[in-house]
């Protein structure tokens, strides 16, 4: 019973870790560069969840002040993740721009093909 309760109260963290590991698996196991970037963004969004989960207080409200409420969730992780999302899309676009240039130079976005073509040069 205690184990079950610990599982229930840590369910968010388990899903976070599952998503993180899924992203890691995609980055290692798949050769397609676009799929790798999807995996990286999966990894990144799991970090958002890791920051936002402990910020929530059960019984709290969103951190917008109103005299009728006393308990608020922590605003600081929200700020960090808010900026991280926009920075994340800028860096994702940079990665995709590199993929586009790689495709123009090599004609493929599969990592194995690119490495074998580098070997022929």
């Amino acid at each position: 019973m205690e184990q079950l309760e610990a599982f229930a109260t840590h369910y968010n963290y388990f899903i976070t870790i599952f998503l993180m590991v899924a992203g890691l698996y995609i980055v290692i196991a798949r050769g397609n560069l676009i799929k790798k970037l999807v995996g990286l963004s999966l990894f990144q969004t799991s970090i958002y969840l890791l920051y936002l989960t402990p910020a929530k207080i059960i019984g709290g409200t969103p951190p917008i002040y109103d005299p009728a409420y006393a308990t608020y969730s922590n605003p600081l992780p929200h700020v960090l993740i808010l900026t991280a999302i926009v920075v994340g899309v800028a860096t994702l676009a940079l990665g995709l721009a590199l993929v586009v240039r790689i495709h123009e130079a090599y004609g493929t976005v599969e990592e194995d093909d690119i490495i074998s073509k580098d070997g022929q040069l």
């Binding site: 899903i15 998503l19 590991v21 999807v38 969004t45 059960i58 951190p63 969730s73 605003p75």
Partner: protein
Amino acid sequence: MILAAKPTGDVVVRTAESLNTGLDLFILSLLLTLMAAVSVAIISNRNMFGVVILAGIYSFLMASVMMTLDAVDVAMTEAAVGAGISSIIFLATLHLTGSMEYPQPRSVGLPLFVAIVVGGALVFGTYGLPPFGAADTPMHTHTAPRFIEMSKDYLMPPNMVTAVLADFRAFDTLGEAVVVFTGGMAVLMLLRGKRKRLQGQPEDVGFDARSPVPPNAKADTTGEAS
């Protein structure tokens, strides 16, 4: 830009704790499980077009999860940026590169082993974290009460996220704006201007860099994005 006057008289202080909490937690667990299912679908799907659409679904689910975690500003950003703009940029890239992945390019064993080991270690460490929704953890007792007090005393706007973002931690946000600027500039440097063919490559290479599709690339002609 003038705030309402400070309320006078007794205000009934409520907390959101009620019957809704259990329902909230149920919805949260449901959404998280759906996200795990979508991530499995992303792993197994070979069509990159489908993967991008699944990533958009994943972002909307993530925005809903953020909503239930009280992060309303973050949920709005994730819905606009994560689900909207990044899907568009992924689709534009697929239009330029082609949308099929190789069937099975490499072995599955080693990546799976690494993933399971890392995941196991992290799960082991997770049990040391405080339970979900606890209010007495250090992050809730150290700086956050000060932000809430400042808003309460009408020294700062009521939206604490905006106050922290643009005032308390404005220097941090300046850094983030500079990172967005740098990212945008780097993309423009890479993609703007005319498409140049590679110059000065020896003629006896295995592929002709001046032809858009090399003879031995079969992946990018099988399925086009649009």
